[in-house]
Symmetry: D3
Subunit: 321 residues, 6 copies
C-alpha cells in the first residue's frame, strides 16, 4: 500500500511511482503543457509538466485513453495557492521488470480482510434457523473468492475491500438495531439479509486492473437485486430446501426490497420489519460511505466537490476535542 | 351469461336472480331501509327495500360481510331521477337446489376463449428462435389451466377472460408495431415477451367465487414480475437451455422491464428496442382497459366516476356516424 | 401499568377498568347499539353494548367528545371472527374515590426511565469539548422535568417514555456509527446533536391526560427545530460562551439540518459528516418506531392497517428460530 | 439519396461528397488538427485532417458556424479502435456548378412519400361523419405542400418524411386499436385526430436547408397544439359548420389533449376514450421513433449515446432468428 | 344583502330567512334529529331540530338533494361550546308570494359593481396601442353582461362579483408592478392581459340560482384559456386586425401562459416579461382570495378547515393595532 | 457610474476603462488569441486580442483567476454578426495613481439610495404597534450601514442597491395588497415582515470588491432565515419586550415562513394571512428581478440566455405604444 502523498513537503525533489489518473494538454504562456492528477492509496496531488518533448507526446498518445496507469515521476514539489503541487521533470513507464500492481495505489477499506471474513463467517454460524444458515453459507462461499477486490459502489466505499467493508458495517449496524428492538426483529432474517444483500454486485461491475470502470450488460438487463433472488432460489433447490417455504420467500423479499423504493430499483417494497431495518441500515452506511469517499479527496477546512448523490458539498472541518 | 339489466323498463314487475354487490342500511322518514346494488354481466342497478322484516335483518347479518352473493329479488322498477331503480318486495337466497354460479353474473371479456387460446398457440408456433419457442411454450402451458378465470388487473379488463384478452391485445398490437419498425424489432423476442409478461399475475391474485378479492402475500413479497423471471430461468434449466444465453437473459429482461419505470415496479428499465415496444404496448392496452371498465359502469351521455388510475373522469359520449 | 387484554379468553365474565378510546352509535337489527374500542397498556379490544338505556345515552352525550376516558366495564368475552370481542353489560365512570390515571392504560416505552436518564447523563459527562458539554448539559436539564411524559411523535414511539426512548436509541446508534467511521466523525458533536435534536418537541405538543392530542400554535409558527436553535444560542450566551464560536454554530447546524431535507422541515441541509450521521440515525430509529407502533396494533399473522407515513401495510409474521 | 458510408472498407482511398456536420480544432502532438463528423443518408463517420494549411483555416473561418455544409473530401480510411475513421487529404467546397442538395445526405423515413399521401387521403375519404371529413380534408390540404420536408420532432423520426411517417404510423396504430375496442371507440373521431394532431408542427419549426435548426417564436408564444385548434375552428367557420357543434368541439379536444398531461403541453387532459387512444398511440410511436433515431447512430453490439428523452442508453443487439 | 348572523346573541328567539346549505339526519339519545347549516351573506351558523314531525320528513325528502334553498326558520340561539348555535322550532319554505332570491344570502365581493365596471372601462380607454385597445374593448363587452354574477373560482373569491373583484385586483396590482419596473414592462400589454385573462371562465362554470354548482363539458374539452385565445383571434379578424400581427400573437400568449406552468393548464410558458408579471400577479391575488374565502368561514382565534389548495390550515388571529 | 457601452458605434477607436469579467485563450487560424468580456454599469461587450505578446501572457497569468479587474483598453469597434465587438490593441492595468473603484462599473439598482432609506424609515415610523415598531427599527439600523452594497440575490436584482431595491418593492407591493384586502391583513405585521425578511442575507454573502462572489459558511450552516429569527428574539430581549408575546412570535413566523415551502428553505409554512401575503409578494418581486437581470444582458429582439431559475429563455421584445 503506497502512501507517500500526505508526507510531501514544499521544495522536495522526489522520484516516485504514482498512479496517473488524469492527463490533459493545456495552453500556457509558453505553449502547451501537461496537467496531471497523480494518486496513491493516501490521496491525490496535482502535477504539471512544461517543455514537452517528443517523448512526452508519444506517452500522451499511448496512455491518454488507457488511464489509470502506474508511472515513474521525477519532479519537485511547490507551494501552489493553498496546496502543494508537483513540477515534473520527467515521466516514464516503469521498467518491464519492476511491474507494480495498480492495487498498491488504490485506497483500501480500513479493515483487515481476513478478520472481516472471520467475523462474517462466525456471524453465519450464529444463525439459528437451519434453512437460512445453509442458504446464506452456501451463497456467501460462492461469491467469497471475488469479494475483497470489489468496491461497494462507484460513489462511495471505493477501493479494495469496499464491498466487504460495507457488508460488515451493515451486519454490525443490524446487530445494534436488533438490540434496540429485540421483540420486533428476527435476528436470523435480518442478519441473513445483511450478509447477502449486495453480494451480487460482483456480477454488476467489470473489474479492470482492480478498478471498476464499467458496469456489465447484465447489470442493465437483470441487475444485482434479481440476480441474488435467483441465487437464493437456486441454492435452496440445490440444498433440497422448499423454495416455497416462508424462509426462502422472506429471504428473497429482504433482497428484493432492500433499496426501499421502486425508483431506487426494488420491485417490491419492505413489507416485514426486518426488511425495513435492512433497507434503513443499508441507506445509513451507503450514504456515510459516500460522505467518507468525498472527504478523502477534500483538504482539511475546505468544502468538498459537488456530490450528485448527496446533492450537496460537505465541509471538512474538525472541532478541537 | 345473464344480461337482464339493460332491457328493464319502468313499472315492470320482475322476479330475477342478481348478484348483490353492496348492501347498506339507511335512515329514511319511515325508519331504516336497505340500499343495494344489484349486478349481472351487463351492468348494475340500484335497489331499495323498505318495511324491513325480521328476516331481512337476519339476511343482513348473514351476508353483510360475505358479498357478493347471488340472491333472488322480487320487485318493481321505478323512474328515479334520470335512471331506473328497483323497489324491492322481497329478497331470498336461491334454493339449495338451484345453485347458480357467480360467474354467470360477472362481465366477461368480449372474446371467445377457445379462439383466443388457439391464436396464442399459433403465435407461439410461429416463433422461429428455438430456445424462445420452447421456453414460451412450456411456461404458457404451465399457467394456461388457470388463465381464463383471471382479470387483467383490479382496475381494468375485469371479469372472466380479462387477463387472456389483455395478452391477446398485447400480442396483436406487437404485430402492428413490428410491421411499422421491421428493421428495429426482433419479432421472436417481442412476441415472446408479449405472451409471458403478465401470466404470473395469476400468482398475485386470490380468486374467490370467480372474483379477485385480495392479493396474495407473494404479490407483496416477490411480485409477478420477479416470479416470471424465476419461471423463465427454471424452465430454461429444465429444458437444458443455457440460463446465461443471450435469449434467456433478454427474455428475462423483457419481463423485468415491462413496467417501464422503477416506481411502477420494474427493477430494471427497458434497454433494448423490443423491451421499449413491449412496455409501450402494455401501457396502451392497460390504460384503454381501464377506460373500458370505467365506461361499462357509466350511462351514455354521463361523466364516469373518478378514476384514481387515470386521475380523471371520462365522458361517455357518441358521435353520430 | 395495566395489561389485561392479551390474557382474556373466550366466554370469560370480566369487570375491569379500561381506557375507552372510541365510542360510536351503530344501527343493528334490534336498533341502535354502541361500538367501542377499549384499551390498556398492552393493546386494544373491540366491544359492543346493545339494549341501550337512558343512562347509556347520557354517558354518550357527556363523554362522546371528551375521549379517551377511563371507564369500568362489566361484560363477557366472545369469539368474533378471528378475534375476541366483548359483549358489554354495563359501563360506568369509576367512582370519584378510585381516581385512576390514564397513564396506567397507555403503552409505555420498553425502557426503565431512571436508567435512561442515568445513561444520558453519563453520556453528557463523557463529552470532552467543554463548550458542548456545558450547553448540552444545561439545555438537557431545562427539558428533563417534562421529558418522560412525551411520545416521540404522533406516528411512532407513542406513549410514556417514547421521546426518551427515541433519544436513547439515537445516542446508541450514534455510538455504533462512530465506531464504524472513527476518523470521520467527531464524537462530541454527534453525541451532542443526538441528545438535543428532538427535545424541543416538548414545546410542539399539547399534553392532555398523558396523551398528545394536539400540536401547539408555536409548532406551526416556529417549530421545534428553530426553537432548539434559539435554546442553544441563548444558553451559550447565558454561559458566556461565544455564540459565534464554531462549536455553537455547528451544534446549531446539527439541529437545524437533522430532518435532512427542506420538505421535511430543515431550513439548511447537512453540511458536515456528523450532521449527515445524525440525520440518518434519526431517520432509522424514527421509521422503525413507526413500524413498531403499527405492529403493536396488529395481530400476529395479519397485515397492519395502512400507514400514511410508510405508504404501506406491513405483515406481522414470525419465523421459527 | 447518398449512402456510401456503410460500405467503406479499411485502407480505401476515396473522393466523395459528404455532409460536414461538425468541425473542431484539436491539439495533437504535431500541432492543431481538425476533427470532423461526415454524414450521408446512411450514417456518420469520424474524420481527421492534420497538417492544416492556410486554406484549411480559411475554410474553418467560413463554415465553422454555418454547418451543416456539403463538402468534397479526399482521404483514406483507417482502422481506429473498433471502428473505421477517415484520414483526410483535402477538403473543398463543391464547385458552383455541382450544386448538391443537402437533402441527399439526410436520412429519410423508410416510406414512399406518394404512397403515404395516397393512404392518408384514402383514410380521409373513409371518414363517414361529413363535418369531420370536410374539416380534416381541408386542413390536411392546407399543410400538405410542406409536409414531406419536416421531421416529426428534434429527437426522433428525423429527416425527410419524418413527420409524414409518424402521422402514418399513428393512423395505422389507431386502426389496430379500433379493431381491439370496436364498441368503445368512434373510428371517425380517432382517425380525424390521428391525421391532424401534429400537422401544425410545421409552424413550430424553422427549416433551413432541409434541416430543422430552430423553433419559431410562434412555437413558444402559441405552440402547435393551440395553432391546430385555431385551424379547426377557422376551417369549420369557413365551411359553414357550426363551431359549437359536438364534432368541432371534440375534434378540438382531441388535438388539445393529445400530449396527455399539462406538463407535456396539453391545456386539457383526455376526457373521451378516443382522446385517450390518440394520446397513447402518439406516445407509442413517438418514443419508438426516438429509439429508432438513437440506434441509427449506434454500431451493432454497442450501447447508444445517452438519451435525455428516454433517460437511458439502449443496447443495439440482435438475436439470431 | 342579508347579514343577520354576526349580530345574533345567546338566548334570542328569532324568525328569519336563511339559506339552508346542508341538512343531515343524525342519531341522538332521543332518536333522529336534523343537523343543518344556515347561511346568509355574512357567514354561517349551525342549527339542530329535534322532535321531527312528518312534515319535517317531507321537507327532508324534497329539499335534501336540491340544496341550497331559502327557508324560514323559527328558533332560539344557544351557547354551544365556544360558539352560538340555533335550536330550531320549525322550518318552512317561504310563501310563494315572498320569493326571495338566493343571491341575497350569498357573500358578495367587497366592491361596488358599477364603480368596478367604470374603473375597468377607463383602464381600457387608457390603453394606447390601438389594436390592443379595440380587441380588449370588444371582448370585454362580449362578456360584461354576465360578469358580475360569477365567482372567480370554486376555491376563493366566491360569491357575487367575485370574478369582477379578481380582475380589478389583477389590474391594480399590475399598475403597481408597472410602476416598479417601468422600463421592462409594456403597460398596454400587461393591462390588456390582466383584463382578459379570466373572462372566459364564464363559459367554464354552470351558474344555478347564482351559485356555480358545476363546470361545463366545454371546461374539460377546451377550457377557458384556449377559449379566450379563440375570442382574441376571432375578434381581431372581425375588427380587420391582422391575426398574425405581433400585438395579437403576444396578447394570445399572455392568456395562454398566465397559469405559468403546464401542470396548471398553460400550454405555453411565459416568454415575455409582461407574461411573467401577469402570471405572478394572478397567482398573488388568486391565493389571497383562497385565504380570504377560507377565513370567512373561520371564527376569530381559530384555525381554519384544511385547504386542499394551500395544503394547510390558517389561523385567524388579530394583532392589536 | 460608467455607462459607455451602449453609445459605442462601429469603427470607433476608443481608450477606456472597463471591468474585465472573463478572459479566455482561444485557438484561431493565426494561433492563440484572447476572448474577453468587458463590462460597465450599462452592459457588456465582447472583445478579442490577437498577436499576443509576452506581456499579454503575463497579464493572463496574473489576473486570470482574480477576475473581475478594472483594465484600460485601447481598441477599435467592429461590426460582428448582429452586434458590435471590440478589436483590442492593448490592455493595461490602470496606474497605481488612478485607482478606480469596481463599483463604478457595476450595474446599480434604479433607485436613489438616500430616498429609499428615507421611505423605509418613514414606513417604520408609521407602524402603530409599539413592539413591532421598536424591534423593526432596531434591527433595521443594525443592518443599514451595510445594506446599500448588497445585491438581492445572485440571480436577480444584482448590483449596488439591489437588496435595498427589493426590500422597497416588497414594501410597496405590500401596501397595494393591504389596500385590496384591508379587513384581512394587519398592516403593521405585513410591513414589519416586508422590511426585515431578507436583511440577514447580508450575513449570507461574501462581498469582495463590491461583488458577491461567494456565500459564507454561515449561509450553509444556519442561513439568513434563522439568523433573522435570532435577531428578532435577541433584539426583543434587549428591548425588554416579552419574547413569548404574540407580536414576537408572529414576526418570527413571518420571517421563517417567507420562502413559502420547505424545499425553498422555510422550516414552517405560512399560517396567517400576512405570512401568505409576504411570501407571495416576495416571490413576485424576486422573479421579476430575475427577468429584469436576464434581459439586461439580452439585446433587443433576441431571446435571453437560458435561465435555470425560470427554466426558460425570455424574449426581449417591445410593442409600439
Amino acid at each position: 500500500m503506497r502512501r507517500v502523498i500526505p508526507s510531501l513537503k514544499v521544495n522536495e525533489t522526489i522520484k516516485e511511482h504514482f498512479l496517473l489518473t488524469s492527463l490533459q494538454t493545456k495552453l500556457g504562456k509558453n505553449g502547451t503543457y501537461f496537467e496531471m492528477t497523480l494518486a496513491d492509496a493516501s490521496g491525490e496531488i496535482k502535477a504539471r509538466k512544461w517543455d514537452l518533448t517528443e517523448k512526452d507526446y508519444q506517452l500522451y498518445d499511448v496512455i491518454h485513453k488507457e488511464l489509470p496507469q502506474v508511472v515513474l515521476i521525477k519532479g519537485i514539489t511547490r507551494q501552489f495557492q493553498q496546496t502543494i503541487d508537483l513540477k515534473v521533470f520527467y515521466i516514464v513507464y516503469p521498467d518491464e521488470e519492476t511491474v507494480i500492481s495498480i492495487s498498491e495505489f488504490l485506497p483500501a477499506a480500513p479493515i483487515d480482510v481476513e478478520d472481516a471474513y472471520l467475523e462474517l463467517e462466525e456471524t453465519i454460524t450464529s444463525i439459528r434457523n437451519e434453512s437460512l444458515k445453509k442458504i446464506v453459507g452456501e451463497v456467501f462461499h460462492l461469491y467469497k473468492p471475488f469479494l475483497a477486490q470489489y468496491p461497494a459502489s462507484i460513489h462511495g466505499h471505493q477501493g479494495y475491500g469496499g464491498l466487504l467493508w460495507h457488508i460488515l458495517n451493515t451486519v454490525r449496524l443490524s446487530e445494534t438495531v436488533i438490540g434496540l428492538y429485540p421483540n420486533m426483529l428476527n435476528r436470523d432474517l435480518l442478519i441473513s439479509g445483511a450478509i447477502l444483500h449486495d453480494l451480487a454486485k460482483i456480477k454488476d461491475y467489470k473489474l479492470e486492473k482492480g478498478i471498476v470502470t464499467k458496469v456489465t450488460d447484465r447489470s442493465k438487463f437483470v441487475g444485482h437485486i434479481v440476480t441474488m433472488a435467483h441465487d437464493i432460489r437456486e441454492t435452496a433447490r440445490m440444498l433440497n430446501i422448499d423454495v416455497n417455504s416462508i424462509e426462502v420467500e422472506l429471504l428473497e423479499h429482504m433482497i428484493l426490497s432492500h433499496h426501499g423504493k421502486g425508483e431506487y430499483g426494488s420491485p417490491v417494497q419492505p413489507s416485514v420489519p426486518e426488511a425495513f431495518a435492512l433497507h434503513l441500515v443499508d441507506v445509513l452506511d451507503t450514504r456515510l460511505g459516500v460522505v467518507q469517499h468525498l472527504l478523502e479527496k477534500t483538504p482539511q477546512g475546505e468544502w468538498s466537490e459537488w456530490s450528485k448523490v448527496l446533492e450537496k458539498r460537505i465541509k471538512k472541518i474538525r472541532l478541537e476535542g
